[in-house]
């Protein structure tokens, strides 16, 4: 049998509320910069809360005015992050076989903000542009990334709510391992919208102040928006072309809680199944894990259930390693959260610095791990997990490793 194909990350791009390129995002993340501020994208006056992690300006100067008009906010964010990721990977797409390069993204809210402009007029009986409804369908961004870069390989869009882009990375990995593609552009782009803002508020899940993951006084999440794009590439090929190898994607776990549409299993058993599946797929043990990038939404239920899941799955190791939630800075970017958190996880491995959980003041007996409170920490990280849990009990955990951790096969 031939050697199994392995998958590495050779480029990344980020568009977030605390930085609209990879390095400024990372710098602000390590500085503990909070991107959760008064919401301006739409009028929040009638909502219970008025803050969000909003992107002030999307770096879309490379698009023509006509393109910008045609595209949704999520399209423009996603294209900007994809462009940065491909640039950084050093891939010269003009010389590549386009049928071997795919696009697998996660989405869900996607361009809904633009669709809402239609809904608002339509529901009031005013003239409206119905084509805007289609902005909400998440596959539009996938098609646009393939269109812009001339890619003809596998295309898919996973929509599993808040684990969408984590699962997209898993699908991208499996497609490369199976030989369906050599390179896959993966990740996701998701925007703030009235539906999700009003929806989480209707469930009383939003903190009026910036969210405080794992803190005793946490009151809910802060909603954010982001695009995070990663270039996944078959390892041997990446090495041959001298590509910058940022980390290896070792594997992922994808499971159903089969518990409840919105509530996590409080015992942590469901989340632990996902973590175990991820460790198994990645071929590592609990003792190998150096860092967990938590889902850490800051809802009372998630953070205690996730803490329990980490303890059940990692045993003693759970108390020896840092666990942090970057949602404390960039909010919950919903369908893009898995991707942007994966970007942060890869950078943690690259630079040996763990981003903090900010706004952390008081310990909660139900959340008793090391959450890297408020200040980033220098630490060599060779194997890291990033957790994503979602409405519907769609759970996904991805595993990245440094080149140091995995000797050549």
């Amino acid at each position: 049998m031939s050697k199994p194909r392995r998958v590495v990350v050779t480029g990344m791009g980020a568009v977030t509320s605390i930085g609209t390129d990879l390095e400024s995002f990372w710098e602000n993340l390590l500085a503990g910069t909070c991107g959760i501020r008064p919401l301006r994208l739409f009028d929040p006056a009638a909502y219970r809360t008025q803050t969000a992690a909003e992107i002030a300006r999307i770096p879309d100067d490379f698009l023509t005015d006509a393109e910008k008009r045609r595209m949704s906010r999520a399209d423009r964010m996603g294209l900007a992050a994809a462009r940065e990721a491909i640039d950084r990977s050093g891939l010269d797409l003009g010389t590549e076989d386009p049928t071997r390069i795919g696009v697998v993204l996660g989405g869900g809210t996607s361009g809904l903000l633009d669709s809402e402009a239609f809904f608002d007029r339509y529901l009031r009986g005013q003239p409206a542009r119905p084509s805007r409804v289609l902005n909400h369908l998440p596959d539009a961004i996938t098609d646009r990334v393939a269109q812009r870069h001339g890619l003809q390989g596998v295309k898919s869009t996973i929509t599993t709510a808040c684990s969408s882009s984590a699962n997209a990375m898993g699908y991208a990995h499996d497609a490369i391992v199976a030989g369906l593609a050599d390179v896959v552009i993966t990740g996701g782009s998701d925007v703030l919208a009235r539906l999700t803002y009003g929806g989480f508020n209707s469930l009383r899940s939003v903190d009026p102040d910036p969210c405080r993951p794992f803190d005793r006084d946490r009151r809910g999440l802060s909603i954010g928006e982001a695009a995070g794009i990663l270039v996944f590439e078959e390892k041997g090929r990446a090495e041959r072309r001298g590509a910058p190898i940022l980390a290896e994607f070792l594997g992922y776990g994808v499971t159903s809680d089969a518990f409840h549409m919105t509530a996590p299993d409080p015992t942590g058993a469901a989340g632990a199944r996902t973590i175990r599946a991820a460790l198994h797929a990645a071929g590592v043990n609990a003792e190998d894990v150096d860092y967990v990038n938590a889902h850490g939404t800051a809802t009372p239920q998630n953070d205690s259930a996730e803490t329990a899941a980490i303890k059940v799955a990692l045993g003693d190791r759970a108390r020896q390693i840092p666990v942090s939630s970057i949602k404390s800075m960039i909010g919950h970017c919903l369908c893009a959260s898995g991707a942007i958190e994966a970007v942060a996880t890869v950078l943690t491995i690259r630079d040996g610095v763990v981003p903090p959980t900010i706004h952390y003041e008081n310990a909660d007996p139900a959340c008793d791990l090391d959450y890297v409170p408020n200040v980033s920490r220098v630490l060599t990280v060779d194997v890291a997990l990033s957790n994503s849990f979602a409405f519907g009990g769609n759970s996904s955990v991805v595993v990245f490793a440094s080149e140091r951790a995995r000797p050549p096969a």
């Binding site: 009638a46 219970r48 989405g107 809402e116 809904f119 339509y122 529901l123 009031r124 542009r129 119905p130 084509s131 409804v133 289609l134 909400h136 369908l137 998440p138 539009a140 996938t142 098609d143 646009r144 393939a146 269109q147 812009r148 870069h149 890619l151 003809q152 596998v154 295309k155 898919s156 869009t157 996973i158 929509t159 599993t160 709510a161 699962n167 699908y171 499996d174 497609a175 391992v177 199976a178 369906l180 009235r194 539906l195 009003g198 929806g199 989480f200 508020n201 209707s202 499971t255 159903s256 809680d257 089969a258 549409m261 469901a270 599946a277 979602a390 409405f391 519907g392 009990g393 769609n394």
Partner: protein, 378 residues
């Protein structure tokens, strides 16, 4: 190539029947669920036709008090998936982590989303009903299935235009080959939604007065249980069909533009046949993608006459002419192919004995092309 898995059960909830057998029987009989829209459905659309599951009730499969918790798409999906699991006699409780679900959809969540926004935008955000919010996500049907059937395995929903269900089939086959699961429910679900119809109408996608001037939107759910060969054999399952190959191609284009590129169609079809180790002349039953988009249908017909050149023309079943087009339609093609391959009376396989082989084409807007080959299990 290595086998992609055995299909051991099928289910359908469609305007052509509430079980996979009835759906298959009426499909073979040439029935079609496509009907003119009512005035209310049509409003000021250019579109004229639709294929809805009129008179659908979740009872008796789902008790009334429970059914209220699910939106229409979830009701469809729960019933179709339960049928597939029942036919396969898969004992989920014995190892719930061994079985997962991959569903394609283009519209799941649309009804809940529309209702939630109606209140949020016209009254106030505070009045918006929290009950609807969790069902606005497109993964609601697959997740409701996972909760109802207690599946702990992989659970994904895929949206990639008309071939979403074949895309889910690809995901599921990778989940099996990578050892993530031993069995995967695979299929598609869609619910008709008036607002989404306006969107597709506006971009000129829907059929008007003239035949073949666009797609007719359908709704329903289709599911099969795909298992690893070893898993199915170990538990003594009686497979309906074998998934032998999948092929795909992409064309870089605008998300809602059809790109009738012969080279992409041929690449998708030939890579599916090659993957399956099947020659074009072995294909006795063909499910075309044909959906009423003239330029795409013409390109498909031209390419396929080249692919099938020199061979007897396969029996053709155009599923979308019977149930309309939707992201779930590929699920209908897969279910029909399985029922046909397992049909003891021969069905569309005139010869009766010998290896049976079916080819499914599923092409969509945005340059998305997939094809799959199903064949006799042994």
């Amino acid at each position: 190539m290595s086998p992609r898995g055995l299909i051991t059960g099928a289910g359908a909830v469609s305007p052509l029947g509430r079980t996979s057998s009835e759906f298959y029987r009426r499909l073979l009989a040439g029935d079609s669920a496509i009907r003119p829209m009512t005035g209310e459905e049509r409003g000021d659309l250019q579109a004229t036709h639709v294929a809805r599951y009129d008179g659908f009730s979740p009872q008796p499969d789902i008790p009334a008090n429970k059914a209220r918790r699910f939106d229409r798409g979830s009701q469809f999906a729960i019933i179709a998936c339960a049928e597939a699991v029942a036919e396969a006699r898969y004992a989920i409780g014995e190892d719930p982590e061994s079985i997962g679900i991959a569903i394609g959809t283009g519209s799941a969540g649309a009804g809940a989303l529309t209702e939630f926004l109606r209140v949020l935008l016209l009254q106030s955000p505070e009045a918006a009903p929290p009950f609807h919010f969790p069902n606005t996500v497109a993964n609601a049907p697959a997740s409701q299935v996972s909760i109802e059937l207690k599946l702990f395995g992989p659970n994904v929903t895929i949206t990639q235009k008309d071939p979403s269900a074949l895309n889910a089939l690809l995901f599921a086959s990778l989940a099996l080959s990578s050892g993530r699961a031993r069995a995967m429910l695979v299929g598609g679900v869609d619910e008709w939604n008036a607002v989404y119809a306006m969107g597709f109408d506006r971009v000129g996608a829907l059929r008007g007065e003239k035949r073949d001037s666009g797609i007719v939107q359908g709704e329903g759910a289709f599911a099969v249980l795909l298992e690893t060969e070893e898993g199915a054999e170990a538990r003594g399952a009686r497979p309906l069909a074998r998934l032998a190959g999948i092929g795909l191609a992409g064309v870089p284009t605008e998300p809602y533009r059809f790109a009738p590129e012969p080279a992409a169609i041929e690449r998708a079809v030939r890579s599916a046949l090659d993957d399956a180790g099947t020659r074009p002349r072995d294909v006795q039953l063909w499910f075309p993608s044909r959906n009423g988009v003239r330029a795409m249908d013409d390109a498909e017909a031209a390419v396929m006459s080249r692919v099938f050149a020199g061979a007897a023309a396969p029996r053709t079943i155009a599923v979308k002419e019977a149930i309309g087009e939707m992201a779930a339609a590929g699920g209908g093609q897969i279910v029909a192919a399985c029922r046909a391959i397992a049909d003891g009376n021969g069905g569309p396989f005139a010869g009766g004995a010998g290896r049976r082989c079916a080819l499914i084409n599923s092409f969509g807007a945005g340059g998305n092309f997939l094809a799959a080959v199903l064949e006799s299990p042994a």
